[in-house]
Symmetry: C2
Subunit: 703 residues, 2 copies
Amino acid sequence: MQRPSFADALFNPRAIALIGVSDDAGKTAGRPLRFLRKHGYAGPIYPINPNRSAVQGERAYAGVGEAPGPIDHAYILVNTPAVEAAVAACAEAGVAVATILASGFAEAGDAGRERQRKIVEIARGGGLRLVGPNSLGVINTWAPLALTANAAFAADTLPRGRLAVLSQSGSLIGTLVSRGAARGIGFGKLISVGNEADLSVGEIGAALAEDPDTDAFLLFLETIRARDEMARFAALARRAAKPIIAYKLGRSEVGQALAVSHTGAMVGSDAAVDAFLRRHGILRVDHLETLLEAAPLVVGRNPPTGRNRRVGVIATTGGGAATVVDRLGLLGVEVTPPSADTLAKLRAVNVPPQSGPIIDVTLAGTRYDVMRPALDILIDAPEFALVLVTIGSSAQFNPELAVKPIVDCAREKKPLAVFLTPQADETLRLLAQHGIAAFRTPEACADAIAAYLAWHEPPPASGARPETITRAAALLRAAQAQGEVLDERQSLALFEALGIPVARSHVFDAAAPPPALPFPFPVAAKVLSPDIIHKTDAGGVALEIATASDLGEQARALVAAARSRHPAARIEGVLVQPMERGIAEVLVGYHLDAQAGPVVTVGMGGTLAEIYRDYAVRTAPVSAAEAAEMIADVRGFAVLRGHRGKPPGDVDALAEAIAALSTLAGLSEPAVLEAEINPLIVRPAGKGVVAVDGVVRLAPAQR
Amino acid sequence: MQRPSFADALFNPRAIALIGVSDDAGKTAGRPLRFLRKHGYAGPIYPINPNRSAVQGERAYAGVGEAPGPIDHAYILVNTPAVEAAVAACAEAGVAVATILASGFAEAGDAGRERQRKIVEIARGGGLRLVGPNSLGVINTWAPLALTANAAFAADTLPRGRLAVLSQSGSLIGTLVSRGAARGIGFGKLISVGNEADLSVGEIGAALAEDPDTDAFLLFLETIRARDEMARFAALARRAAKPIIAYKLGRSEVGQALAVSHTGAMVGSDAAVDAFLRRHGILRVDHLETLLEAAPLVVGRNPPTGRNRRVGVIATTGGGAATVVDRLGLLGVEVTPPSADTLAKLRAVNVPPQSGPIIDVTLAGTRYDVMRPALDILIDAPEFALVLVTIGSSAQFNPELAVKPIVDCAREKKPLAVFLTPQADETLRLLAQHGIAAFRTPEACADAIAAYLAWHEPPPASGARPETITRAAALLRAAQAQGEVLDERQSLALFEALGIPVARSHVFDAAAPPPALPFPFPVAAKVLSPDIIHKTDAGGVALEIATASDLGEQARALVAAARSRHPAARIEGVLVQPMERGIAEVLVGYHLDAQAGPVVTVGMGGTLAEIYRDYAVRTAPVSAAEAAEMIADVRGFAVLRGHRGKPPGDVDALAEAIAALSTLAGLSEPAVLEAEINPLIVRPAGKGVVAVDGVVRLAPAQR
């Protein structure tokens, strides 16, 4: 028997071994056997337990090698110390995939990391693929296969469906299945990926991109471990028109800390993760239940195109609809009244006259013959990208009045989001059965609508011309000889090589008399040292110097101050620049995020961006068009947009500078860890931008 | 029979009239009779219908006056145009309370407002109290009384409970009742207050403050119409130790617009409403389901005291708990690991060693004999103000393991919030039955916890000394003679009268030679006019004037610019001040909010406060201690708190200035509509503050 693909072994194994399975069907290590049988797995199951000849009444084998037939998938249920031997046995026995339940690996300090490295090494040596450690298992309702220790699968039935779940939390799979079952939402494949020591979310997802039983993917993420595989998955899923929806922990600082300690992952910024997901066309939801509820909005659809991202609202209860609309307002979604044309059509079908953005048919219009034509009119109305329908009490007792029209209308043309105000479980089930997005809470409903409207086709690839990269790389290799941190002069030279306008500058020795400058006074003088990053704090900056003699005096003072505060710093001289002026001082940064990889950031200079978390982040590189979107996202850039009748700034030149800095992502040797232009001065429209200071840090040289 | 109190007539009427009741029990105007009978109302019901001798098989009467007995409560179900006559008939017949279903009153333009005024006038003349118009009715499950047209009461049972609901949305009552019924949460009294033409949320609530069947109040608000009554209600409820929890629409601009158009209310600022609720000890929740779920956190409890507002977390599923904790982090709630002492106690009861803030007992610890002692330890741990418990799959199939310990533990000492990750309806019911706060979604759970921890005892009353008020009032009366807007000099004089330090200033005529100044150069010069509010935009400000001759020249230029841009403005001269310098420029404002009444605001000067919505708002007056809390709430005031090693600002003096301006709330004639110090310059700690500019607008003089 030839080894199957890892995906077949995972989801459609022809034979299964349960290594270390417990005789007690109630214990965690006993459940997989019980659940496999309960939910009707059809192939051979080999319980492996060296201490017993029978487990839960079934014949047990002393080792994987003793099993009477070949094994596609082994679930390793033994304690942490015994995992290594079990992995080795699987590799030797020609098992295709082993899923590991135990914890105590990468999430458990140095010893755990070493333990994990070892099992991966053994598996790779033997052609074995691993899921986990820390995996609660794999489910395929279509096989059927319930190879899992998750207690939720004690439920009597597994509602089938066409959603695939890939989760870094094992317990969450149970949450989704049990909540889904209660309202008729079923799943096809579910996998608890655990630590992703070998198989990652991305690699597993990519293998399922063409799966005929899957319409969409739901991800529960605590971190992003293998971003390139995730990006490949996203591209394949996009090509197959199968949307990916993600819920990711780590939006708050405490949440980030949890994700790190819980999974042994590296910390990265949530804004960078957001940028990564957006770049790859993955929808991100903010509420846990939205992950369960949002899929029908996107299944079979492409991202909305163009500028129309407005929501039309129809309701049998204005107050109920207002709870969603108020929240949509908070999320920045545009909710607008229908056009005059649409209003006229609505009047013709007996919808009462309306004033605001909510079309309230009221109790009087809670009838099939009003709701049905009204829905068709809104679905056809070109002013709306999505229609929100809110149904009140009638959803519970009289679904024939206002719910049936939703089921019957021509909804393939436009997504419908339905919020039911009462407890109406039967109606939720009915809508799920018809593939209609229905929501239990106004908050999840608004969350899903906002995620749908923020969904974009991934932008076309961008990047620098090869000669720019070559020039920048040469410059960095030369700088690298002196250390990993570039000084201001070197940093400005790099920015210039990338095509960013930089301030003219001149370096001189403070001990010598001040030189003749190639530019007029007033000037700024700064101490030049790769070892002093915060020059201002070190007393190393003097501004508005008006004369040559003043320059000489200030230069000596700067160096003296820097020497006294940073005695060990290498001081290379004093850098002088003309005083550059503009409309705003901006920070443009590039760095390698631990989760998302290369990202570019823009925000106001100074402390405001930090205090208000007011910056835009995208994965690098970005085109100038994407950079322009970033600029539009920064609230503090109101000043650049011609705030209060003042002249606007040169946002085109700023966008070009952001795009230019972002091309650092194309450099691999030496790689840039971090590069920051701070400040970049933005002049009035048409007058350009100029970088006046910055810092660059390289990755340690590869050997 | 004497007229009962309006509260008795509302909730325990001895006899009911249904005016205009329909023979069709399925129609809105037919439902109240059906629901009264269905849910067992015991007193006489008099259907009133001049066109029929019987309605739904019951004897009908031609008019209220024809009913064979006295009527406590009439539900007026007739169409809008017929309401006035029905109200008049009720007044004449000595009915105590009439509830009005029809819409088309204050929410429907001028004609509707007039219609509403008229019925209130008639009712007042006849000693009749009104609920509505736009009211879906009144329910008292203990009576029992289901005097409502809300379709949700077609349900077969009305679960009883000890929560009272007062709602400006009628449909929301059905939402709460049906959702509550599904999980064992019952209600005592529910009322749809409609337009509050006569009886307001506050007056009805106040009448229920001592109600023995009520433990807590839930409010669904679209606006605040009668704030003084609301404040009185809050005070009485507080005295009776009955918490009030509010969900209020209008957080977004579109939501505010809806509230206005839907209910005919006035628009106010959501931040002001927030301040109002906080001032009166009313908890505000952000999610609709939280309104249903949060009450057990507060029933029978006082607001948390002191600085300990930290949350302890125990879970059988770390991933599930993380969904709540991540959200708590976003809401600014502090989630911390247990103390060393607590950890030692936990180890002694077999809780595995923990690192982060979540005590994860894991599958192995999902047992009564681990969870029960662990819960008792956390409840006793002094480092936590509240304990969050998250239960995974076992909540669905094995509540005896980790849910029963919650029911059994000594939870009267500290609030417990329970989040269940699976669908576990039976367990939700069990917890509700035991008065334990249980949540279906991590978001509502975090919302409720944040609301509980933000709950404060209302602050003691504050305000100005009478002589300050007298002085300020005299000054304003004098200014009022010249118009409703004070000029800068008058405004500064008012601030000074309130005890706020103001910049020295000198006014002169620009046509005359510049005078000798009582302070040194450099100075600022500003055109003085009550008609020019935005002096800078009008070219009416010159800064850093260094010499007398420059002052003369600039003064003429200012006046010329102001004249050319505002030809009609009264120009009273040029106001000169020393250039005042400090650490930050701050805006301190006072105004009368349409919903919340007098409020005081503080934020950074310039455009930032507006761009980032970064200001603190409280109802006025505030004490200096409350003002200090306001300062702490403004993120941009990092600069005043000694940001990055810089000297801190005089926040004590700033707090005094805020408190002083807020005492304007004590002035009634003339009343101040709006007063703004912009900027107030904050000097380094110990050096005080100084108001350099401002504007004051008075209410039109009363006749």
